[in-house]
Symmetry: C3
Subunit: 357 residues, 3 copies
């Protein structure tokens, strides 16, 4: 196991050490799990109690907490402990798979172009005319078809399928068992049967894109399916044919986006959202989990769907109430109430008048 | 790249050419992307403006639009431009993987029967007694277990798993990373623990079925899980043990069907639907996306669930309103309103009577 | 095909045979499909009619139904027919893949430790320092990375990916195309871009855990993602980084659990549920399908979400009604109604008083 000198760590996160800069740090750990040779971080004042209880030898903190912890351990003062943590994870990360070079069991087409310093695992298949850029890592049992272009510094995990013609930029990470460039779900109904429409477009993925495991990203029907730079996608996500996802948008697990929908940049799409097809969602839209989007969204902001959780008995009552909304819209009740209110006021006024007589 | 003579294209779609039948068409493209050597299609009058702006050398149109476009480019007149487009995609499609024959790295059990003109990619494993029909294409790294029967003209993409005893008809297409015939989720609770029930049934798939990527189709517990002819299934779909899906039904991405549910023929199931187990859904049922089906449906028609999208502030109000439905059902309010209305009418009548006195 | 003597079968399920104990049973079948040489079971009085119509040579029944069926066929009397069925499925189950030993195409790192009587299929890759316990079965094309510990009697299907450092107990079954130990979706936003946080934790899976196909179980950020003994998980399930699942909890297909949520023991989570992150769900909680959990649950019981299915026309009315709840909360209507009721009562009282004068 590799360990680090605190001075080195400090340089990585541009911080200030309150204590011994030669301290040897073994691991980056949570506050609960850290031991005396480990480093941890305090993500704000609400974690102060846990920080005080921690055995960590070094704590990464923001300026306002330095005095409260500097007697307990070495303190590394930074602007943002969370960001420092994010940076340091890369220092302490173990390589996921320690193989080097190109496995002799890999089947690489003679016309394929493999860059410098590329790692290709056992049983990888790479097709005709395909290009893999420098410093890329491809885990075992990946299948990359013909005419695929992948930039440099790719990271592609085991059992990924990348279909014909796919274009992928630099620094792209694709997690295990994902399918990129599969045929979109294009079928024409004719005489009560479904007739397959071959999908002639492809998938184009920009730079610094991350795609999770068990995702399906389909090729376009005529035009391409496009994922812009900096997009991050979680696991089990469905991206249908001709979807376009704008730069730096984040999509959480289990969300599905139907065909030809265009999502803007810097969006945050919660988990298990369902977005219908042929819509347009502008930039900076946030959807909470399980949102159901059936119309275009042209205004940035936070949107939600759903009715929450109930204990089962009350839920049945709520569902009955919801069903009753089909027979009696609220607005109709409101109208009726207001009319009755008018009639009561009239009666009261007449009563008052009578009394005065 | 292969190109086509317009006369040939015309024969494929049974149309009429208004212009040079010897025109050489290079690619089938969208209206926006088409260049002067390409062909595109106009899917109805609502696309007329885009058609007029298109640079396509040839436009496929219905009869009513011929005159409006024939001065702009060559026009190919057909009954249904969408259907013509569907047919032509196959003409222009590139083969997804250009390999021929049986890869020498494939491991095929000596008792397996492989038909004529079958393509089998690298690292495919085929089990004991398994049959693969003529003209089938199996991409690299597919695993087909023992006693599997696959008909002719199959198309099976990379990383598919087909488990023991599965029966598949002719012209079946299965996309990447899908699992067919895995064990159903059968567990008996006993003394607070779960006891696995081995699943002795299998999966039976008819002819001309299409299954997307990252799907799970489980084998039956005793009887089989059955998918009838012409069914089309999108990506990331769950089909549990003993489900039956009727012919020519279409199921969009992310839908899940729980065990022993029987779905009729010619149904259209939207994306991300959840269908409970042990139900029966008749023919010609349409479900919109994210529908929640907990009872059998015995009448054809269009069905829906959900409450749509709100900006987050209004959504919180709506959820509060929904919760209040558990305490105060609408019908109770309606009753109370009507009683008050009666009492007001009585007061008004008495008032009127008094006045007359 | 193997067949069994009824006396043997009887011993397995601790029952009593009413009839010929030497009867040879060929297969375990459903009531509808059973033939005269087969055995089936009657899961309660509601199946009595189907039992009477069955051609099964042997019926497994509870004591109360013995007399009604013993003239029709041999009857095997047990305490719980369903449990007897569960046990017998293992007797009649065919091995899913008939290979023995270690395939010579498998790539096993020299420092890996493989136990006794382990089956490893073609094109399996096993990494550095990894341990596989006795009697384990690994299907073709599985990738197990470095430093993975797997106990004895594991069953791992084709195309599974098990990432670095994963720890798995004994008797664990993982179905096809699942990814265990992939990197969690950890990203820090900084200057409008997403910065990847390497995930230094791992996945720890206990004994007798079952994980379905096409699942994604992510490694933890610092601490581990933990699945306790006896947990059963269906297909297409998402378990995010740092989730903890308590012992003997069952999770149905398509459910997603977001990061750092802790689920108790003996829970039953329905299909397609969405559970937000950083929550705590106590023991013995049942969620019906498609439940939406956004707050911790500290009380055992049955919980639900959703509004059910409507024919599309009524659904549109219900959604309009739901939208109107944002403008007019029910409680406000109730208040207004009650005030009007008071004013009417006052008018009626005054009327009554007047009349008496």
């Amino acid at each position: 196991m590799v360990s680090f000198n605190l001075a080195d760590i400090c340089r990585h996160v541009q911080g200030t050490v309150h204590g011994d800069t030669e301290f040897i740090v073994e691991q980056l750990k949570s506050l609960e799990q850290a031991g005396v040779q480990d480093i941890s971080f305090v993500n704000g004042e609400k974690y102060l109690d846990q920080a005080k209880a921690s055995r960590a030898g070094v704590l990464i903190v923001s300026s306002d907490l330095v005095d409260q912890l500097k007697d307990q351990c070495i303190v590394l003062e930074v602007k943002s402990p969370y960001l420092a943590f994010a940076i340091l994870t890369h220092l302490f990360a173990k390589p996921p798979y320690n193989q080097q070079g190109i496995a002799n069991t890999a089947k690489i087409h003679p016309t394929a172009t493999i860059g410098q310093n590329v790692t290709i695992g056992d049983f990888v298949v790479i097709g005709e005319d395909t290009q893999i850029g420098d410093n890329s890592i491809i885990h075992p049992s990946v299948f990359i078809a013909d005419h695929v272009k992948i930039g440099h510094s790719a990271y592609i995990e085991s059992h990924v399928t990348i279909s014909e013609g796919t274009e992928i930029g630099d620094y792209v990470r694709i997690h295990a068992n994902t399918s990129i460039g599969g045929e979109g779900f294009g079928f024409a109904p004719y005489q009560e049967q479904w007739h397959r429409i071959a999908q002639l477009g492809k998938v184009r993925i920009g730079n610094k894109v991350r795609i999770g495991s068990n995702c399906s990203i389909d090729r376009g029907a005529l035009d391409d399916t496009v994922i812009d730079d900096g997009v991050i996608i979680d696991n089990l996500v469905q991206v249908a044919h001709n979807v376009q996802i704008g730069s730096h948008t984040a999509i959480a697990a289990k969300t599905g986006i139907a065909g030809s929908t265009k999502i803007g940049a810097h969006c945050i799409i919660g988990g298990a959202c369902g977005i219908a097809g042929h819509l347009e969602i502008t930039d900076h839209v946030h959807l909470t989990g399980m949102s159901m989007v059936t119309k275009s969204i042209d205004k940035s902001g936070l949107y939600s769907s759903g009715t929450g959780l109930f204990d089962n008995l009350n839920w049945r009552k709520a569902v009955i109430g919801f069903r009753q909304l089909t027979e009696t819209p609220i607005n109709k009740l409101v109208k009726q109430l207001n009319l009755l209110q008018n009639r009561i006021e009239k009666l009261e006024l007449e009563k008052h008048t009578d009394t005065k007589d």
